[in-house]
C-alpha cells in the first residue's frame, strides 16, 4: 500500500512533467506558424500513441525554426524523423531503449539500411547500442562509406566491444583522416584494434 508521501511525490512528478511538456508545447507553438504547428502536433501525438520518443521530434521542429527553415521543410523533416524512429524500433526490436531508438534513427537518416541496423542488433545483444550507433553516425558524417562503417560497427559488436572501445575507434579514425588517410581505410584498419582480426574487405 502506498504511503501518503509516495502519493504526493508521484503527484508532484506528474505535475512537473506535465508543466515541462506544456512549456515545450508552448515553445513549439510560438516558434512555428499555425499550419506547421498543426502538422507537427499531429505527428508528435502519433509518436506518443506508439510509445516512441517525442522530445527528438519537437527538437527537430525547433531546430528547423532556429534555422529559419520554411514550414513545409520543418514538417517534412519531422515526418522523416518519425519514420526513422519507427524504422529504428522495428530494426532494433520492441524492447530497445529510447536512447537506442534515437541513435538508431540517426543512423537510418545517415543512409544505413534497416537490414544493416538489424544485423548490428543481432551482433551486439549483450550491450546497449546507443554509443555504437552514435559512433556509426559519426563515421558516416566523416566520410566513411556507410556500408563500410556499418560492417565495422557490426564487427566490433560481434567482438563484444565496450563503449570505450567505440569512443576510441571514433577518435582514432578522426585522427587518421586528419593525417591524410582515406576514411574507409582508417575505419577498416582501426576496427582491427577491437576485433583483432584481419582488416575488413
Amino acid at each position: 500500500m502506498r504511503t501518503p508521501r509516495a502519493i504526493v511525490t508521484s503527484f508532484l512528478i506528474l505535475m512537473f512533467a506535465s508543466l515541462a511538456g506544456s512549456a515545450q508545447e508552448a515553445r513549439l507553438k510560438s516558434a512555428l506558424d499555425a499550419e506547421t504547428y498543426a502538422k507537427v502536433s499531429k505527428m508528435t501525438d502519433s509518436a506518443r500513441a506508439e510509445s516512441l520518443p517525442v522530445d527528438p521530434l519537437i527538437g527537430v521542429a525547433l531546430e528547423g525554426a532556429q534555422r529559419r527553415a520554411p514550414g513545409s521543410r520543418i514538417a517534412g523533416a519531422v515526418r522523416d524523423y518519425l519514420a526513422a524512429l519507427r524504422g529504428a524500433r522495428a530494426a532494433l526490436g520492441s524492447d530497445a531503449a529510447p536512447a537506442e531508438i534515437v541513435s538508431g534513427a540517426g543512423v537510418l537518416l545517415s543512409g544505413v539500411s534497416s537490414d544493416a541496423l538489424h544485423r548490428i542488433r543481432l551482433a551486439g545483444t549483450r550491450r546497449p547500442l546507443t554509443v555504437p550507433l552514435v559512433v556509426l553516425a559519426d563515421l558516416i558524417a566523416r566520410g566513411v562509406p556507410k556500408d563500410t562503417a556499418a560492417r565495422a560497427i557490426e564487427a566490433a559488436a560481434r567482438a563484444n566491444a565496450r563503449d570505450d572501445d567505440y569512443s576510441a575507434l571514433r577518435r582514432y579514425v578522426e585522427q587518421d583522416i586528419l593525417a591524410g588517410a582515406s576514411p574507409a581505410a582508417a575505419a577498416m584498419l582501426r576496427v582491427r584494434g577491437i576485433t583483432g582480426g584481419p582488416p575488413l574487405e
Binding site: 515545450q24 515553445r27 520518443p53 522530445d55 527528438p56 527538437g59 527537430v60 525547433l62 531546430e63 528547423g64 525554426a65 532556429q66 534555422r67 529559419r68 527553415a69 521543410r73 523533416a77 519531422v78 522523416d80 524523423y81 529510447p98 536512447a99 534515437v102 541513435s103 540517426g106 537518416l109 545517415s110 546507443t130 554509443v131 552514435v134 559512433v135 553516425a137 559519426d138 558516416i140 558524417a141 566523416r142 566520410g143 563503449d163 571514433r170 583522416i177 586528419l178 591524410g180
Partner: protein, 439 residues
C-alpha cells in the same frame, strides 16, 4: 649602356623570381610545420568545369584539368591566427592558375570593446594563360570593435606588388575602413579603401596615365620568367620573341579608391560568398567587379558549387579576368576552409564534456572569441551564452537527461557549426551537429 641595361634587367628578373616564389615556399613551409604540430588542416578538392577569359581570349577547362587541390593549415591561439593555403590544378600539362596565400593576424592590445592588431598577407598569383604572375603583399596596423554581431575596423599600412609582365615593384601607403553586421548566419561587410599613388620616377616602366608597348626583349624576359616559375612543365602561349603582345597596349593603372560590399556565410545548407565593388583608378577610370559563388551541400563532405567572377586587372597585369566555374567540392564538413583570417573573431578550436551528477559541463575552446553561444535540444534550440573561463575557454553547465543530445556552437555571431572533438551526426536540415551521449 645596353649591356648595363641587360644586366640590370636580368638582376631584376632574378630578384623578381625569388620574390614571386617566396610566398609559395613560405606557404609550403608553414603548412608543413603546422601540420606536423597538429594544426587544423583541410583538403578541399574541386572537380568540375571552369572557364577563364582575359585580354580577349577564353580558356575552358574540364575533367582532369579542372581538378584543383586546395590544401591549407590554420594555426590559432589566443594571440592570433596564421593561415597558409595554396590552390593548384592537378595536371601534368598546364598550370593555368596557381596561387598561394600566407596571412597572419596578431592581436596587440585589447580591451572590453576595442582591439588593436597587426595583419600581414602575401599572395602569389600565377597564371600561365594570360602570362601573368603577380606577387603582392600588405601590412596593416588595425583597430576595431569587439562586438559579437556588428562592428568596424580601421586599418593603415602599406601595399606592395610586383608583376612579371611589367617588372614593376611598387610600395604604396594604404588605408581602409570597414563595417560589418551579422544576420541569419551571414556576414555583411562594407569596406572603403584607398591607396597612395606610386612614384613614377622610381619605378621601371611604370608610368602613370598612359600605357607602354612591350618589345621582344620584354617578351623574352617574360617567357623566361614563366619557364622558371612554372611548376609542372608549362605549355607557353608563345615562344620567346614572338610578338604576340607587340602591338598591344598594356594599361597599368593603379587603383587609389575602392568601395566593396561583401556577403558570406551559410544560409541553411547553402554557402554564399559574394562581393561587388567599384574602384576608381588614376586617369578617372572606374572599374566595377564582383563575384558570386554558391555552394549547396548535398551531404557532409559533398557539395555542388558554381559561380561567376569578374576581376579587375591586378596591378601590373595585362588585363582583367572573367571566369565561371561549376562542379563539385569535397570537404570534411559542411563548411569551407576559412580563406580569410583578418577578422577579429575565429571559430571554436575544440570541445570537451565533463559529465557530473545529473548534468554536464561543456567546455569550448575558442581563441580570440568575444562571445560563444550554444544551441541544442537541451536548450530547446534556443541560443545560450557560454561563460568565459580562463584563456580561450568557454563553459556551460547544464542538466542533461540520459540519452542522445545534439547541439551546435556559434562564435561571435557566425555560423552554427559542430565543434571539433565530439562525435558528429547529420541533422534533418542537411547540416551537421555535435552529439553527446549521456549513459
Amino acid at each position: 649602356m645596353m649591356d648595363s641595361d641587360r644586366d640590370s634587367s636580368l638582376r631584376s628578373d632574378d630578384s623578381m623570381s625569388i620574390y614571386s616564389s617566396i610566398t609559395f615556399r613560405l606557404a609550403a613551409v608553414t603548412l608543413t610545420l603546422a601540420t606536423s604540430l597538429g594544426a587544423q588542416q583541410s583538403w578541399s578538392p574541386f572537380i568540375g568545369v571552369g572557364s577563364i577569359s582575359s585580354a580577349g581570349r577564353t580558356n575552358v577547362a574540364a575533367g582532369a584539368s579542372a581538378f584543383v587541390v586546395e590544401p591549407g593549415a590554420l594555426v590559432e591561439s589566443s594571440r592570433g591566427s596564421v593561415l597558409a593555403r595554396w590552390s593548384s590544378p592537378v595536371t601534368a600539362t598546364t598550370v593555368d592558375l596557381t596561387d598561394a596565400d600566407l596571412a597572419g593576424r596578431l592581436r596587440l592590445l585589447s580591451s572590453r570593446r576595442l582591439e588593436t592588431s597587426f595583419f600581414a598577407s602575401a599572395t602569389y598569383d600565377h597564371s600561365a594563360f594570360n602570362t601573368m604572375a603577380t606577387a603582392s603583399s600588405s601590412a596593416r596596423l588595425q583597430i576595431g570593435t569587439l562586438s559579437p554581431a556588428r562592428g568596424f575596423q580601421w586599418a593603415a599600412g602599406v601595399d606592395g606588388w610586383r608583376s612579371n609582365v611589367t617588372g614593376n615593384g611598387v610600395v604604396v601607403p594604404a588605408t581602409s575602413i570597414s563595417g560589418w553586421i551579422r544576420r541569419f548566419g551571414l556576414s555583411f561587410t562594407a569596406e572603403l579603401s584607398a591607396r597612395g599613388l606610386p612614384g613614377s620616377t622610381s619605378v621601371k616602366g611604370d608610368t602613370i596615365g598612359h600605357g607602354w608597348i612591350l618589345d621582344s626583349a620584354s617578351l623574352a624576359r617574360t617567357a623566361d620568367q614563366l619557364r622558371r616559375d612554372t611548376l609542372h612543365g608549362p605549355v607557353f602561349p608563345f615562344e620567346p620573341g614572338d610578338p604576340i603582345y607587340g602591338t598591344k597596349r598594356v594599361h597599368d593603372d593603379h587603383t587609389f579608391g575602392d568601395a566593396v560590399l561583401r556577403v558570406s556565410g551559410m544560409l541553411m545548407s547553402l554557402g554564399i560568398d559574394g562581393q561587388a565593388g567599384t574602384g576608381v583608378a588614376t586617369g578617372g577610370r572606374v572599374r566595377s567587379y564582383g563575384s558570386v559563388i554558391l555552394t549547396r551541400w548535398i551531404s557532409p563532405g559533398f557539395a555542388l558549387t558554381g559561380g561567376v567572377v569578374v576581376q579587375p586587372p591586378q596591378p601590373g597585369a595585362v588585363g582583367g579576368r572573367t571566369g565561371a566555374l561549376l562542379g563539385i567540392r569535397l570537404a570534411p564538413g559542411p563548411h569551407l576552409f576559412p580563406h580569410f583570417v583578418n577578422a577579429p573573431k575565429v571559430g571554436a578550436a575544440s570541445c570537451s564534456v565533463l559529465m557530473s551528477e545529473g548534468g554536464a559541463t561543456i567546455e569550448v575552446r575558442a581563441p580570440a572569441a568575444s562571445h560563444v553561444e550554444l544551441s541544442g535540444d537541451f536548450t530547446r534550440w534556443t541560443p545560450a551564452s557560454l561563460e568565459r573561463g580562463k584563456g580561450d575557454r568557454w563553459t556551460l553547465t547544464t542538466r542533461l537527461s540520459p540519452g542522445v543530445h545534439r547541439f551546435v556552437v556559434r562564435v561571435d555571431g557566425g555560423s552554427w557549426l559542430p565543434v571539433p572533438g565530439l562525435p558528429q551526426s547529420v541533422d534533418a536540415y542537411e547540416g551537421t551537429v555535435s552529439v553527446i551521449v549521456v549513459p
